[in-house]
């Protein structure tokens, strides 16, 4: 039970680590790292569920009649692209924030915003 679902335990652990970092850390880069870990856990989740016991890669060849489900792999390729775009945009924003505020700490940014008001 526990060992058999080993992939899913990893997924949950990674997901929680990522989520925790996003919430708990004030540094924008760390937040982005957390977000990426969080998203990656979902990629592993999709890939794990595609696995069919005893299955191989889905190739049309002699002797292969049990193969893993390729659809989740394809789906997650799309999600990986989305993830990269998100990370790139987040990093670009972090650069612009650093230029504008001179800091990438949430606390400092909030303080400067409060002064502006």
């Amino acid at each position: 039970m526990i060992l058999g679902l080993y992939n899913y335990w990893i997924v949950i652990i990674l997901m929680m680590i990522g989520f925790y970092i996003v919430i708990a850390h004030g540094n924008l880069i760390k937040k982005i790292v957390g977000l990426t870990i969080f998203q990656t856990s979902v990629f592993i989740f999709y890939i794990s569920m595609a696995k069919v016991d005893e299955g191989t890669a889905p190739i049309l060849a002699e002797g292969i009649n049990q193969y893993s489900n390729p659809l989740p792999h394809v789906l997650i390729l799309t999600a990986i692209v989305v993830g990269i775009a998100t990370t790139a945009l987040a990093l670009a924003l972090a650069v612009r924030i650093k230029e504008a505020y001179g800091s990438i700490e949430e606390k400092d940014i909030q303080e400067k915003d409060n002064l502006d008001c």
């Binding site: 989520f19 789906l75 989305v82 987040a90 924003l93 504008a100 940014i109």
Partner: protein, 496 residues
Amino acid sequence: MLTHLPVLQVIVPLMAAPLCLLLNRPRLVWLFTLIVSGLAFVISGLLLQQVLTSGTIIYDLGGWDAPWGIEYRIDLLNAYLLVIISAISTVVLFAAHTSIREEIPASRHTLFYILYLLTFAGMLGIVATGDAFNVFVFLEISSLSAYALIALGKDRRALWASFQYLIMGTIGATFILIGIGLMYQMTGTLNMEDLSKLLPDVEQTRTVFTAFAFVIVGICLKLAMFPLHLWLPNAYAYAPSIVTAFLAATATKVAIYLLIRFTFSIFNLSFSFTHVPLQILFLVLGLAGIFVASTTAIYQTNVKQLFAYSSIAQIGYMIVGFSVSSVAGLTATLLHLFNHALMKSALFLALGAVMYRIGSTQLSQFQGLGRQMPLTMAAIVVGGLSLIGVPLTVGFVSKWYLVVAMIENGWWPVAVLILLGSLLAVVYVWRIVEVAYFKPALASTKTIKEAPLAFLIPVWVLVIANIYFGIDTRFSVEVAHAASMNLFQGLSGVNR
């Protein structure tokens, strides 16, 4: 040609976005974007007409039959949403060229329109598609470009607001992705109609409950439902005026659509409302949203932020209507969706005009504007009255239907609370009226003139729509009612 309308609806703006790069002359790109948006509006109008006469349209992408291929499915609800989004986008774009000249450096104008078209295409895609995973992809297309649009704001706080929105939005979208994954794991399909048929067999499993929870929380993050609304006020307040007018009127509406689609069509009604205590949860959160956000709105000093909080409160009304889970309640939600889009686009566009003339939307700067910009301020007053729900405006129509739905259901206290919530709207609208009409003009704004026609025309088109649909409710009520009747029959109620 006509049979390809469902896909053209999404493809046209999507393809038009990179074409903007080739044009690369601000005025030309603006005209091009306007034409594309107008075209999308015509397509959505044709689709709505087609749905009204001959029922649900099903379009298989690339000729691959569902559930293997991706299908686009346009029923009354989808067509209604498509019309709202494309109509608001087109009207708002009229003012875009004038507005962004003041707010965005000229070198970024082309990029602005590209992002705008991508956001637009993403929203249309979410609504048009009948495939759960496709929803996620379009959601990310529209969200990523929306983050970038918000970051184009003049103030540096726009960057910070955009970053916060990005974090919250990505968590929301990833939640939806997890939910869809779990649903796929249980059913082996991503097609919405197929899911709705296969889910009931497995609905008593923990996996399906988890999937439902992830999807709902993800959508609620996107829709800024109280208490997941924290990203919204700053994002709306510091984005360029055009972006605020467009997003405030459409983005959250698309999320409401997703909420309805997932709870009513994909998961069925008995699952969403009896196995899961969604009703009491949404009723309480919706009401809390109305009161907390309206009260916060009263204390804002930035008018854009004030109306952003009011948006959260209005979402509360939609959620309350949704939580009744009766035809009347859902009709009220769908009506309010349309009406709120009209109000908020008019209001934020009028604020864009103020921004154009004064360069600020601080309430203190509004002193005496009632005399200097009479038409713009009159538009804000009418929009405000509509927010309150004064008769002869659209706001009254949807509040009326909402209150009637509550009473029909025997929820008297809720009906009273809704009316009390409207009184809070009176307070925050009055604050603006008081400053604009009863205070002398500031020395610095003495020479301010009325906003240019590029603003006045779209603003007043929207304001007149606010009054017109408040008097002649045939279109909005009929479509909203028919759409909610449809929803209660479920997705499989239509014949292919």
